[in-house]
C-alpha cells in the first residue's frame, strides 16, 4: 500500500503502451509536462476514473473521443461493471488535454483511432473501477469499525452482511477519496462470464440530444462576440497563394477581414459563416499552381503500373521460392487489381474555433486526438503547451480524418491570431473538404499463384504498387526502407493483421509509388484494398483449381484456427452450400485487422445490364471480447454501408493536378435503399482484446465482389464498380 494514487494509475496506464504524440513534428506533450502543478482535486474524486457525488451519481471519466462508434458507452460499462455501481445513476465526463497534461498525463494517452478505444484502455479503466470500489468499501468498513471482508456491495449500496447495516457510495465517497489506493497487486478483475453490465446491450448513454437537435457539435458552437471564417486552399496540391484583392469584398455585409492563413490558403472572416463564405466566393485570388498541374489520374495510373513490373528490392515476406514455384506450376493464375483514392467525407465538415487571449489560447475541436490537437494549437500559436487548452466535442464522424494532421487547427489558429480576444470559428465548405482531404491511398496489386495437378495452391506472389501513408504522415516509422503498413493484412506476425493462409511458397512485395496527393488513414486503412486483393484472388484460384470457395480456403488455414473459426461461423450462419433462390449467388471472404478476425458472406443478384442487388450480408467476428453486442453490430452495419459505398461508388480522381470531385453530386455515397439487411454472429474467444470499428470493413467488399463473380462468371478487379459496368440498386 505504499504506492501513491498517481503512480498506481500511471503505471497501469503506461503498461498499455504510449502512443506517439505530436505527429506534426518535434512536438512532444510529455516534454513539457514536468513543470505544471497538479490542479486541486474535488473532494469526492475517489480516483482518476470515478467521482461519486452526494446525490449518488457516479461520474465515470473517459478520455477517448466519441465519433459515433460507441466507445464512450463501452468504457462506462467496463468501469461500472467493476465499480458495482447503479447503471441508472451514472454520468460521464471527459478531462481536457490541458487537464491531462497538468496532471502529468495521469489519464494516459487520449488518441482515438486504429480501433483502439476499448482494447487499449480496457485493462486500466477496469482496474480503476476495482480500485474505486475497494476504496469505497474500505471507507465504509472504517466507519463501521469492521473488516472489509464482512461487506458486500450491489448497485452502489454497501451492506455489512451480519448486521444488515447499509450505506451508499455517495455517503462514503469523501472519506474514500482520502484513502491510500490499493496495491495494484491486490486488484483482481472479474471474469467476463460474471459480467452483468459489460457484455450486454445496454442502450447508448449519448443518444437523447442527437434526436432533438440539442446536441452541440463543434460546428454549432456559439460564443460571445464570435466571428466566423471560410477558407480556400490552393486547388492544386503543392501550389501557392500569390495574391488576392480584398478591396473587392471589403464593403460586403458583415465582412471583418481577409487573412493570409499560410503560403497555401486564404480566409475571409465575417460576422456569420454564410457571409464569410459568400465574400470568399467573390474574392479575386491569384494562385501559383506550381509544378503538379499536369498530373492526372491516368498519369498516376501509369506510374503505379510501372511499379508492378519494376526491378528492385521490394520484398517483405519471402518464404520458399514463390517465383520459381509459380514458373514450374501445373497451372498459373495471374490477375491485376486496382483501387482508387477515396475521401473520408465525414458528415460534419472540418471546423475548429479558436480564441486567442493574452496569455492563453483555447480551441474547440472535433478531434480524434485531443493531445495532437493541443500540440497543433501550441505549434501554430507559438505559445507553450501550458498556455493552451483544447475542448473536445463529440464528432460528426471521424473515420481517420480527424486523428493525425490537424490542418484545420493550424488554420483556425492562424486566423484567430489576427483577432485577439475574439473567438473565430473556421468551417470548411463541403467542396473544400472533398478537394483538401488526405485520401485513402491509391494502389494496384499484381497477384500470381501456382496450382498443382491436384488443385492445391503451391505458391503465392503478391506485389502491391501504390502510395504510402507513412511516407506522407510518419516517414520516421519506415524502417530499412520497408513500409510494412502498406501490406497490412499480409503480415506474418500474429495478433494484429496476420495473413490467415499458409502458402508453401510466399513472396510479398511493396513498391512505393508516391504522388503529390496527400494520403492518410481511412476506416480500415490498408486492410480495405489488401482484403480485396487477397480474397478476390483466392476466389480466382479456387475457381482455377476447380474447388469450392470455402473448402479451398480451409485447406490453407489449418495453422490459423482463429481465422478459420470466423470463416466456419459465417459459412454456417450464411448457409454456405445451401440452395439459393434462382438468380441469387453467394460470395465469401475472411481477413484480419486491428487484432480481430472477420468473415462475411454476401448474397447478390445481377441483372443483365449490371444492376446489382445485395440481398443479404452475414458477418462473423471474433474480437476476443465484446462489451456491447448491439453496438458491435451497429459497427458491422456501418462497415457494410461504407464498404459497399466504396466498392460501388466512390472515386477521387485527379485532373490538372487537382481533385475533380467536389461534392456528393459527383461523389455519390450509398443510401438507405441500396443497403442490405445485415446479420451477424459474434464468436469471441476471450483470450485477447481486438478492435471492432475497422476490422469489420475489410471483408465486406471481397464477399460482395466474389458473389458478383459467382453470378457473372467474371472477376471484378477494378474499382469503383460503377465505372466498370455495375450499379448497386
Amino acid at each position: 500500500m505504499n504506492l501513491n494514487r498517481r503512480n498506481f494509475i500511471i503505471s497501469s496506464a503506461s503498461a498499455a503502451g504510449g502512443f506517439a504524440l505530436g505527429m506534426t513534428g518535434a512536438f512532444d506533450v510529455r516534454a513539457q509536462s514536468q513543470d505544471i502543478a497538479l490542479p486541486l482535486k474535488t473532494t469526492n474524486e475517489v480516483n482518476l476514473w470515478v467521482v461519486v457525488k452526494p446525490d449518488e451519481t457516479c461520474v465515470i471519466r473517459m478520455v477517448r473521443s466519441e465519433m459515433g462508434q460507441g466507445t464512450r458507452t463501452g468504457l462506462l460499462q467496463l468501469v461500472a461493471e467493476e465499480l458495482e455501481c447503479d447503471w441508472n445513476k451514472i454520468a460521464f465526463e471527459t478531462p481536457t488535454a490541458g487537464q491531462n497534461l497538468a496532471r502529468k498525463r495521469a489519464w494516459g494517452e487520449m488518441h482515438t483511432g486504429g480501433s483502439r478505444g476499448i482494447r487499449i484502455s480496457q485493462d486500466y479503466v477496469r482496474k480503476g473501477g476495482v480500485a474505486a470500489r475497494m476504496m469505497l468499501m474500505q471507507a465504509a468498513a472504517n466507519q463501521w469499525g469492521v473488516p472489509v471482508s464482512e461487506l458486500k456491495v450491489d448497485k452502489g449500496i454497501i451492506t455489512h452482511v451480519s448486521t444488515g447495516r447499509k450505506i451508499s457510495y455517495g455517503k462514503v465517497a469523501t472519506e474514500a477519496a482520502k484513502l491510500t489506493p490499493p496495491d495494484p497487486k491486490s486488484i483482481t478483475l472479474k471474469n467476463p462470464r460474471d459480467w452483468k453490465i459489460a457484455g450486454t446491450s445496454v442502450r447508448r448513454v449519448d443518444t437523447l440530444d442527437k434526436i432533438n437537435g440539442s446536441k452541440v457539435f463543434a460546428i454549432d458552437l456559439k460564443l460571445p462576440n464570435m466571428l466566423c471564417a471560410a477558407i480556400k486552399s490552393c486547388p492544386v496540391f503543392g501550389g501557392k497563394l500569390n495574391s488576392y484583392d480584398e478591396s473587392k469584398i471589403a464593403s460586403m455585409r458583415g465582412v471583418k477581414g481577409v487573412v493570409k492563413v499560410n503560403d497555401f490558403a486564404v480566409a475571409v472572416v465575417a460576422d456569420t459563416w454564410w457571409r464569410a463564405k459568400t465574400a470568399l466566393d467573390n474574392l479575386p485570388i491569384d494562385w501559383d499552381l506550381g509544378v503538379n498541374t499536369k498530373v492526372s489520374s491516368s498519369s498516376i495510373s501509369q506510374y503505379l503500373k510501372e511499379g508492378l513490373s519494376a526491378e528492385g528490392d521490394f520484398w517483405q515476406r519471402k518464404e520458399g521460392d514463390a517465383s520459381e514455384a509459380i514458373k514450374k506450376a501445373n497451372k498459373k493464375v495471374e490477375a491485376v487489381y486496382s483501387s482508387p483514392f477515396l475521401a473520408h467525407s465525414t458528415m460534419e465538415p472540418m471546423n475548429c474555433t479558436v480564441r486567442f487571449g493574452k496569455d492563453k489560447v483555447e480551441a474547440w475541436v472535433p478531434t480524434q486526438s485531443a493531445e495532437n490537437a493541443l500540440a497543433a494549437l501550441s505549434e501554430a500559436s507559438g505559445l507553450p503547451l501550458g498556455s493552451c487548452e483544447v475542448y473536445v466535442s463529440d464528432i460528426g464522424g471521424g473515420l481517420g480524418r480527424r486523428g493525425s494532421l490537424h490542418d484545420f487547427v493550424h488554420q483556425a489558429t492562424a486566423i484567430a491570431k489576427q483577432f485577439p480576444n475574439t473567438p473565430v470559428k473556421l468551417i470548411w465548405t463541403r467542396e473544400e473538404d472533398f478537394t483538401h482531404d488526405f485520401y485513402r491511398p491509391i494502389s494496384m496489386a499484381k497477384m500470381s499463384a501456382g496450382i498443382d495437378e491436384n488443385g492445391n495452391l503451391t505458391a503465392m506472389h503478391i506485389r502491391v504498387s501504390g502510395q504510402s501513408i507513412n511516407a506522407y504522415l510518419t516517414p520516421m516509422v519506415i524502417k530499412n526502407n520497408k513500409d510494412t503498413r502498406q501490406l497490412q493484412g499480409f503480415w506474418e506476425q500474429p495478433g494484429d493483421a496476420q495473413l490467415g493462409y499458409s502458402f508453401p511458397n510466399l513472396l510479398t512485395e511493396y513498391v512505393m509509388r508516391n504522388t503529390h496527393v496527400p494520403v492518410g488513414p481511412w476506416r480500415g486503412v490498408n486492410t480495405n484494398q489488401n482484403g480485396i486483393y487477397m480474397e478476390c484472388f483466392i476466389e480466382e484460384c479456387a475457381r482455377a483449381a476447380g474447388k469450392d470457395s470455402l473448402a479451398f480456403r480451409r485447406t490453407l488455414m489449418s495453422k490459423h484456427p482463429k481465422h478459420l473459426g470466423v470463416l466456419d461461423a459465417v459459412a454456417e450462419k450464411g448457409d454456405w452450400g445451401k440452395p439459393l433462390p434462382a438468380g441469387r449467388h453467394r460470395g465469401i471472404a475472411q481477413f484480419m485487422g486491428y487484432a480481430s478476425y472477420s468473415a462475411a458472406t454476401a448474397e447478390v443478384s445481377v441483372s443483365p445490364n449490371g444492376e446489382v442487388k445485395v440481398h443479404r450480408m452475414v458477418f462473423a467476428l471474433n474480437s476476443g471480447h465484446y462489451v456491447n453486442p448491439s453496438q458491435v453490430k451497429a459497427q458491422i452495419e456501418g462497415s457494410v454501408v461504407m464498404a459497399l459505398s466504396a466498392i460501388f461508388n466512390e472515386d477521387i480522381t485527379i485532373e490538372n493536378g487537382r481533385v475533380k470531385e467536389t461534392n456528393y453530386d459527383n461523389y455519390p455515397l450509398l443510401k438507405l435503399k441500396e443497403t442490405p439487411k445485415v446479420e451477424c454472429v459474434l464468436v469471441p474467444s476471450y483470450d485477447f482484446w481486438g478492435g471492432v470499428g475497422e476490422p469489420t470493413i475489410c471483408v465486406v467488399g471481397p464477399a460482395v465482389l466474389n458473389a458478383i463473380y459467382a453470378a457473372t462468371g467474371k472477376p471484378c478487379r477494378n474499382l469503383p464498380l460503377r465505372k466498370h459496368g455495375y450499379t448497386i440498386v
Binding site: 454549432d220 448491439s630 453530386d665 438507405l672
Partner: protein, 166 residues
C-alpha cells in the same frame, strides 16, 4: 423579415438571398438543423415548410417568410414522438450529425403514409448517413408506425447471433 419557426415568430434583418439553413442556424440560432453539402444532396438540413419536407440549404430565407417552418427542435417538447422514441430504443444514431435530417424526412414520410412499406421508405429516405445507420433507420420507421414490434426488432440487435460465453 419575419419567420415562423416551431410556432415562434422571429424578426430578422438579413439578405433576402441568404439560404434558409443559415438564417435558422446563425441568425435565429437553432443549430439542430445541419450543414452537410449546401447543394441539397445530403439532407442534413431538412426542415418542414407547411408540412412539406424541404432542404433548407437550397432555398432563400425570403421564400420562407409567411410560411410555417418546423425544425428538429420543434418536433416535440420532450423528444416524445413515436419516431424519436423508436430512435432512442433502437440506438439508431451513431455520430448523430445526420439524424436531425433523417428524423425530419421520416416524420414527413409518416405524415404522408402512416404505414409505409419498405419501398415507400426506400424512396422517401434519401438522406446520407456516413456512419451507415440505414438499417436501424428503416427499423425505427417500422417500429414507430406500429408495423414491427419493438421487442422483436431489439432482439436482433441485442443478441446478434449465437454468442459463446467465456
Amino acid at each position: 423579415m419575419d419567420l415562423d419557426i416551431n410556432g415562434s415568430k422571429y424578426s430578422i434583418n438579413v439578405e433576402p438571398n441568404m439560404p434558409l439553413l443559415w438564417a435558422i442556424r446563425e441568425v435565429v440560432g437553432l443549430t439542430g438543423t445541419k450543414y452537410g453539402c449546401g447543394i441539397a444532396q445530403c439532407g442534413a438540413c431538412s426542415v418542414m415548410m407547411n408540412g412539406e419536407l424541404l432542404r433548407s440549404c437550397s432555398v432563400s430565407v425570403s421564400s420562407a417568410v409567411g410560411q410555417k417552418i418546423i425544425t428538429i427542435e420543434g418536433l416535440s417538447k420532450d423528444s416524445s414522438t413515436a419516431l424519436q422514441k423508436a430512435w432512442i430504443a433502437l440506438d439508431v444514431p451513431q455520430c448523430g450529425y445526420c439524424q436531425s435530417g433523417q428524423l425530419m424526412a421520416a416524420t414527413a414520410l409518416l405524415k404522408r403514409k402512416p404505414k409505409p412499406t419498405d419501398a415507400d421508405i426506400d424512396s422517401a429516405m434519401a438522406n446520407i448517413c456516413r456512419c451507415g445507420t440505414y438499417q436501424r433507420v428503416r427499423d425505427g420507421i417500422h417500429v414507430a408506425s406500429g408495423q414491427k414490434k419493438l421487442n422483436d426488432v431489439l432482439r436482433d440487435y441485442a443478441n446478434p447471433g449465437s454468442q459463446q460465453k467465456a
